[in-house]
């Protein structure tokens, strides 16, 4: 077992950095989308909801393929980036884009469900007390949805951390640059380095277990909290 000292830890840092950044973006975009979808009515809402949830049900390779079409050299975003003299494919931002795409539906779905379960009379009460829609959202809806929002954040982080297929297609596996833990495991196994793969597997199991425990602990708290807010 003399692999440990030689183990290059960069995949872990890349993974944490990628998952962290993706979670931040997911948090902002997911909550905005959830608020919009929960409180406005428009034509084609169901379709948009379906599109937002697609990355959750599609195989990650399909997500990766679609992202390649969008961000690739001939894609709409890729073209713009090319004009600005840059490209994202096979760079670190690509890992973030892939992780964000697969994690977003989880954040959006849980936040929306949390917003929709808030008693509308309470929101209406805030309105009759002179609160602007912004204030109603930030001081009433969000605090009352807080458990759901946090659960969504933890799930998003876990999903972003575990992303493999879309990341490999969009960002490849460049050690020290785009190689995340799941990708490192795949290439270690493929290269016959089972010991290295084993250590990465252990690390990711530990991180995931910690996340699941945090989530469980949180669900218990959420249960008590919601019992209060529903009364």
């Amino acid at each position: 077992m003399n692999v440990l000292p030689q183990l290059d830890l960069t995949p872990m840092w890349i993974s944490l950095k990628t998952a962290g950044t993706a979670t931040l973006i997911t948090f902002a975009v997911g909550i905005t989308a959830a608020r919009w979808m929960a409180f406005t009515h428009f034509k084609g809402k169901e379709l948009l909801d379906g599109i937002l949830l697609m990355p959750m049900v599609l195989p990650p390779t399909v997500v990766g393929f679609v992202l390649l079409l969008i961000f690739g050299k001939n894609g709409p975003v890729g073209q713009i980036l090319l004009k600005l003299g840059t490209t994202v494919i096979f760079s670190w931002p690509a890992t973030v884009i892939a992780a964000t795409a697969v994690a977003l539906p989880l954040m959006y779905k849980t936040a929306r469900a949390a917003f929709e379960q808030v008693n509308t009379d309470i929101l209406d009460a805030a309105r009759t007390l002179g609160a602007t829609e912004m204030r109603v959202f930030w001081q009433v809806t969000v605090p009352l949805s807080w458990p759901g929002i946090l659960a969504g954040t933890i799930l998003s982080f876990a999903r972003a951390l575990g992303e493999f297929g879309a990341t490999l297609m969009l960002a490849g596996s460049i050690p020290g640059k785009t190689q995340t833990i799941p990708v490192a495991i795949f290439f270690a196994v493929e290269g016959g380095d089972m010991a290295k793969a084993f250590i990465w597997v252990l690390i990711i199991i530990l991180i995931s277990l910690a996340m699941v425990l945090a989530l469980n602990y949180w669900s218990k708290f959420q249960h008590d909290y919601l019992a209060r807010s529903r009364r």
Binding site: N119, I122, A125, A126, T128, L129, R228, R231
Partner: protein
């Protein structure tokens, strides 16, 4: 101080169409569930948008479909009390009451809040959360929270329906004390006719989104203008009616002809009398006195409901014409008398309903 409402709202089940004015006296809106009474209140508060019409409060237009005016709820300056209190569960009593006061100095907020806390008798509960309060206390917080903004109108949407009977009566008394001090317009929505009678001076009765009666409460209870209004005000005895002479009516469902005191309405439909206005008499020759037999009885804690068959003994317990309510003491005195008894329908108590 006056509230003027004249609105129409299309709804999948029915069309709500109401118009009324309310001044300083509390106005009760009475109706069965689904009659549109809550929706009326929500439209006035700006929580729902009418299809067309006009809402004005103290000469300020809040909604005018023709001019395209529709102030949001936050700018209407109306207090709204919900059935389930709708307190902010994540805020303390004090924070709940101060919620609407943001934008003014903290010291001033506390001063105003303290005043209402005293009024609502919530002293000592400032730091509690809503789930640590009883239902009555929660509703008092909601009242304090609304009144601290000195709203121009107070809209109460079945505020006591979640409370049990005992608390309900107590809250009702407290509310009436508060309303006596309150300077604005009060609208009180309820499906409980006794509650509406006690709290309000004027009443509106809604049925399927349409106003079927409005006016002083005594007038409405004494002479409900339509059949539905009579039913909604709790009248148990109603019969189809036809005019025989200017002061005589044939009660078709009761198989009798009755003298009435009230002048004939334009399109007479029914004649009615309340169950507690019927009396039993010994003298069978009296005006509006009809021989009767008991078809069925039904006991309540303090009184007993008698179901009477008129003019002939009942064929079965379901064939009855009139429902009479008598106190138990009275019942003990009369129950052993031989049949037929004689029931007296006082012309002063009989009322006639017409078609609108």
């Amino acid at each position: 101080m006056a509230l003027h409402v004249d609105i129409t709202k299309e709804h999948p089940q029915f069309t709500l169409k109401v118009s009324f004015s309310a001044e300083n006296q509390p106005l009760g809106i009475l109706g069965a569930s689904g009659s549109g009474k809550s929706m009326t209140l929500r439209c006035i508060a700006g929580l729902d948008t009418p299809s067309r019409g006009l809402i004005a409060l103290n000469n300020r237009v809040l909604f005018d479909s023709e001019k395209g005016i529709n102030l949001p709820a936050r700018e209407r300056n109306m207090g709204f009390l919900f059935q389930n209190y709708a307190l902010f569960p994540h805020m303390t009593v004090l924070q709940n009451i101060c919620f609407g006061l943001n934008g003014i100095a903290k010291a001033e907020q506390f001063r105003k809040a303290k005043e209402k806390i005293k009024m609502a008798r919530l002293e000592g509960l400032e730091d509690r959360y809503p789930d640590q309060l009883s239902g009555g206390q929660q509703q008092r917080v909601a009242l304090a929270r609304a009144l601290v903004l000195e709203p121009a109108a107070l809209l109460l949407d079945e505020p006591f329906s979640a409370l049990d009977n005992h608390l309900r009566n107590q809250m009702e008394k407290e509310l009436m004390e508060v309303l006596a001090e309150y300077k604005g317009t009060t609208l009180f929505v309820t499906h409980n006719l006794e509650e509406s009678y006690r709290v309000c001076r004027n009443l509106i009765i809604l049925d399927q989104g349409t106003k079927i009666a409005c006016g002083g409460k005594d007038e409405i209870f004494k002479k409900p203008p339509t059949y539905t209004a009579a039913q909604l005000t709790g009248c148990k005895n109603l019969s189809r009616a036809r005019a025989v002479s200017p002061d005589t009516v044939a009660a078709l469902d009761w198989n009798c002809t009755l003298k009435v005191a009230q002048s004939m309405p334009e399109h007479l439909t029914h004649i009615g009398i309340r169950a507690h206005h019927l009396t039993f008499v010994k003298d069978s020759d009296l005006l509006n006195t009809i021989p009767c037999w008991i078809a069925q009885t039904n006991e309540s804690p303090h009184h007993i409901s008698l179901y009477l068959s008129l003019n002939s003994p009942p064929k079965n317990s379901h064939s009855y014409h009139l429902q009479v309510e008598v106190y138990k003491e009275k019942w003990e005195l009369i129950k052993d008398c031989p049949f037929p008894w004689h029931v007296y329908l006082n012309p002063e108590r009989l009322f006639l309903t017409g078609r609108q």
